[in-house]
């Protein structure tokens, strides 16, 4: 008998001094359960992030959202050195640790035959990602992206540098466990372990290590040094930036976004974003609406459970 392949979602969540990534992962897990109907969710974290979340949310609540937690040790040196400026709109900026070292280990860490690797701040508001399962392409990532403030343009985000290779976003990655995909992740790890060399070779800007860079370089190398060799996901990556904010969560699939005007920094327009997944770069903004979001998704989950219990009782009766 042919066994159906196991399918699941993988996220990484390492808190820093200000941002509770684990809570973001919990919110997103409940959104995933609601919109994608997937219960197999793995979160890779460290003991400190988990302990904080357990204190804040409770073990039962976490277990209800995430059914598999993998603990890894943090590389303290990397944590101290990979410092990035995080913005909570243009009004506030903070330099904080950006711990993203283990994402290139996703292939080895994933317990599933087919995996969708997600950023904890990529809010799943639709079932679009279900289109990936069983796809002919064994590895897919986004190079097509679109700012939710459609008028704004950031040409610098399309390539690693002005004359460089196409930038792939490691925000959402679909992969199957095959030799080819394993080679891709080995290549990404190789870039991670030889950051200085590849930074010089591919001339990426800034000093921090980003998975977008190592995944883009791995895609270029493993694709035979051809541009856009790894296929695009069936969906465009929609993004809001850290200069934007979220006004409120209207329901489990609608956000009211405050988007910074391109020609007037610090001023915003409102946009209602409904039923399309979105990458939210302002982590504080998600944390601010996470309470409302949790209420919407957990109410639905609870009422569903109640309904199915009632149904079972009726059948039993």
């Amino acid at each position: 008998m042919k066994m159906s392949p196991s399918r699941g979602i993988l996220m990484f969540a390492h808190n820093n001094a200000e941002i509770d990534y684990f809570k973001l992962a919990v919110v997103n897990s409940l959104l995933i359960q609601k919109h994608l109907g997937i219960k197999d969710i793995t979160v890779v974290t460290d003991s400190h992030s988990y302990a904080y979340a357990k204190k804040e949310l409770g073990k039962k609540f976490i277990d209800n959202a995430i059914n598999n937690i993998i603990f890894v040790e943090k590389d303290i040196n990397f944590k101290r050195n990979n410092i990035r400026t995080f913005k909570d709109t243009s009004h506030t900026a903070k330099n904080l640790s950006f711990y993203n070292l283990d994402r290139a280990d996703a292939y080895n860490l994933s317990p599933y035959d087919e995996t969708i690797l997600l950023d904890a701040d990529y809010l799943v508001l639709s079932n679009t990602l279900n289109q990936c399962w069983g796809h002919n392409n064994e590895l897919m990532m986004n190079w097509k992206w679109q700012d939710v403030m459609f008028e704004r343009k950031f040409d610098g985000l399309n390539r690693l540098n002005d004359f460089g290779i196409t930038m792939y976003w490691a925000t959402v990655v679909y992969f199957r466990k095959t030799d080819y995909v394993q080679s891709f992740f080995n290549c990404a790890r190789h870039v991670r372990e030889n950051t200085q060399f590849y930074k010089e070779l591919y001339k990426w800007p800034g000093r921090i290590y980003r998975n977008d860079y190592s995944f883009s370089i791995a895609a270029h190398m493993i694709g035979g040094f051809v541009d856009k060799a790894i296929p695009q996901l069936p969906t465009t990556l929609y993004k809001t930036f850290d200069t934007d904010d979220i006004s409120s969560a209207e329901d489990a699939q609608t956000l009211l976004l405050l988007l910074e005007k391109p020609r007037s920094p610090g001023d915003f327009i409102l946009t209602k974003w409904r039923g399309v997944d979105v990458h939210v770069m302002n982590k504080w903004a998600i944390n601010r609406i996470s309470g409302a979001m949790l209420k919407y998704v957990s109410t639905t989950t609870k009422s569903k459970t109640r309904k199915s219990r009632r149904k079972k009782e009726t059948i039993a009766g």
Binding site: S126, H135, N136, N137, E151, L256, I269
Partner: protein, 119 residues
């Protein structure tokens, strides 16, 4: 600031909000018109629907189509046609309803379907 200038700025704000909301609506429609089957992904459009109807009229039951990635995907024509047609109607009808609401909105809070006090 003069009343006239205030009004002009208010209108500019309304236009930017309207344009962005229309683009958001288009993005949602585009995303919903993507359909994956048998390991391939298709963008549902008039050409695909018409071609499938043509195949059905010629009593062709199975066909290989090139998907978004130019990969050959074998599909059963009748069920494929039914699915893409119903999806197309569902998505475009929703789009029409939302678009009409936007078209008639003359204030920012109406565009966003909000209480006047919120904006």
């Amino acid at each position: 600031m003069s009343i006239r200038l205030n009004k002009a700025l208010e209108f500019a704000n309304y236009r930017v909000t309207l344009n962005n909301q229309s683009s958001a609506l288009k993005a949602k429609t585009q995303s919903l018109l993507s359909y994956s089957i048998n390991g391939g992904t298709f963008s549902i459009d008039l050409a695909l629907i018409t071609f499938c109807k043509q195949l059905l009229d010629q009593n062709i039951s199975e066909v290989v189509l090139l998907d978004e990635y130019e990969n050959p995907i074998k599909v059963e024509v009748e069920s494929f046609y039914d699915e893409i047609l119903s999806r197309y109607f569902e998505v475009t009808n929703d789009y029409y309803a939302e678009y009409e609401k936007l078209r008639k909105a003359r204030k920012v809070h109406k565009i966003l379907d909000l209480d006047e006090n919120v904006t």
